[in-house]
């Protein structure tokens, strides 16, 4: 990015580097949340519906992992994906796919734990009826997930918020490569360390506005959907 310009000037001029950074942040975090949801929602639902020895311990573990330090997740994924590591032959370290994987792992516990809680509460309500209608386990999971979709959307937003705001994971796993793996948060860290605090702060404002916009859009979606269902 050009030296000396404020973040707002860069937006106004449609600075290509800034747009690339914003786009990468969104692509990485949205993809991460999608992957985490594909695994985490059924996982949370299964956990809510089944009983097995050690279930309580697993739930406590999952809840605890909601607070996994991003930098630790980044380090763990780095060691896995490094050429010297077990998955090194894929050669994806320091690329966006590695960032997506790492953020998905970071966000998975949040989505699974919140889904479990939501589904468990709803199951208590639906249990008799679904059992009387002879609904099988797959059907139960699908029904509960669909009927709690608004609460689950909140869980997804929580996951997205965590992903787009973190810097530790993507910094280690992506390497903050100019024009390739630089996201908003790593760019802010870089500009701060270069002492260009106004630019860093400006980028920070842009990031916050982005997050608020996405949350507002999700809220609007929820209101519109509820209106459709409730006529």
């Amino acid at each position: 990015m050009t030296e000396g310009l404020s973040a707002w000037q860069l937006i106004a001029s449609g600075d290509a580097a800034l747009l690339a950074i914003v786009r990468l942040s969104l692509v990485v975090s949205l993809s991460a949340v999608t992957c985490a949801a594909l695994v985490g929602l059924p996982l949370g639902a299964s956990l809510a519906l089944t009983r097995f020895p050690g279930r309580t311990a697993l739930i406590v573990l999952l809840n605890g992992f909601m607070g996994l330090p991003p930098v630790v997740v980044g380090l763990a994924v780095f060691l896995l994906l490094s050429r010297s590591g077990p998955l090194g032959s894929f050669g994806i370290l320091f690329t966006p796919p590695a960032m997506i994987i790492a953020q998905a792992l970071l966000v998975l516990p949040i989505i699974a734990a919140l889904a479990r809680q939501t589904i468990e509460d709803l199951w208590r309500e639906y249990r008799d009826e679904l059992t009387a209608m002879d609904v099988g386990s797959v059907g139960r999971i699908a029904t509960l997930l669909w009927d709690s979709r608004f609460s689950l959307l909140t869980a997804l937003l929580a996951g997205f918020g965590r992903a787009i705001a973190e810097v530790g994971t993507v910094m280690i796993v992506g390497g903050n490569i100019d024009g390739f793996t630089r996201t908003m948060t790593t760019a802010i860290a870089l500009e701060t360390s270069k002492g260009d605090l106004p630019l860093a702060l400006g980028l920070g404002y842009i990031l916050i506005i982005l997050i608020l916009t996405i949350n507002a859009a999700a809220w609007g979606l929820r209101v519109w959907s509820e209106q459709r269902v409730n006529g």
């Binding site: 639906y126 008799d128 009387a132 209608m133 002879d134 009927d147 269902v229 409730n230």
Partner: protein
């Protein structure tokens, strides 16, 4: 997929049920045969709900056996249950009925029109696209009936379906139930309202403190009860 096997006669042989240290059902034996509605009556706390749930297969007895059409295990493919406080899915009324059809394996192409039929039968056709949870108590009860009938049941269990309803709603629900019975469905219903029992019953079973103490046709029960409990019940006294 229709199961070719019938759940009737439904036979309880010396069934007991304990829960939380208390005896809820105490050596109950009975058999449910096709025909007029069977009304399960008794004071609150007598164990009617538990008995219905065991007949449905939602609970297992702690003693004794249950057989459906002679079989000790039977998936509820041809049974349906209407709870006292039914739970509607967070969807429209029509979607709730469609859900019942889908779970019962009703062919997809025909579901739409069948949903309309069922809603019409319970008088809720105008509410098809309303959110089910925004309906009144009586309307939800009727919707639950529609959803249960969607299963094309052979056996329909109802646990005090009109206990929380006003007289007008009670009358319409009773009409639907009678209609179902006339179309060949065996209705087994819990009630503690003598008027309702008179209106609906073919057969009456009196349950007091977990034991079956009287059994007979409606006429026998009301005109010549053989036990003191039954007599007290018919008089409207407390049955202790």
């Amino acid at each position: 997929m229709r199961a070719p096997l019938s759940d009737l006669p439904l036979i309880l042989d010396d069934v007991s049920f304990r829960a939380g240290g208390a005896v809820i059902l105490d050596h109950v034996s009975l058999s449910i045969e096709p025909g007029y509605p069977t009304l399960l009556v008794g004071p609150n706390g007598a164990g009617k709900s538990s008995l219905l749930r065991i007949c449905m297969g939602l609970a297992r007895p702690t003693g004794g056996t249950v057989t459906w059409g002679g079989r000790p295990e039977s998936r509820p493919l041809r049974r349906a249950f209407v709870f006292q406080r039914p739970v509607m899915l967070r969807r429209s009324a029509a979607a709730n009925v469609a859900y019942g059809l889908r779970q019962a394996g009703y062919p997809r192409r025909l579901r739409g029109s069948r949903v309309q039929e069922l809603l019409d039968r319970v008088g809720l056709l105008d509410y098809a696209d309303r959110a089910a949870r925004s309906l009144s108590g009586g309307e939800q009860q009727k919707l639950a009936l529609a959803r249960a009938l969607a299963r094309d049941p052979e056996l329909l269990f109802l646990d005090e379906p009109t206990a929380n309803l006003d007289p007008a709603a009670t009358r319409s629900v009773e009409e639907i139930i009678l209609g179902a019975s006339h179309s060949g469905i065996k209705v087994v219903m819990a009630s503690h309202d003598p008027g309702q029992i008179r209106r609906l019953a073919g057969e009456v079973l009196l349950l007091v403190r977990g034991s079956l103490c009287e059994r007979g046709t409606a006429a026998e029960f009301f005109d010549s009860p053989s036990t003191s409990e039954a007599a007290a019940f018919v008089r409207g006294d407390f049955v202790l």
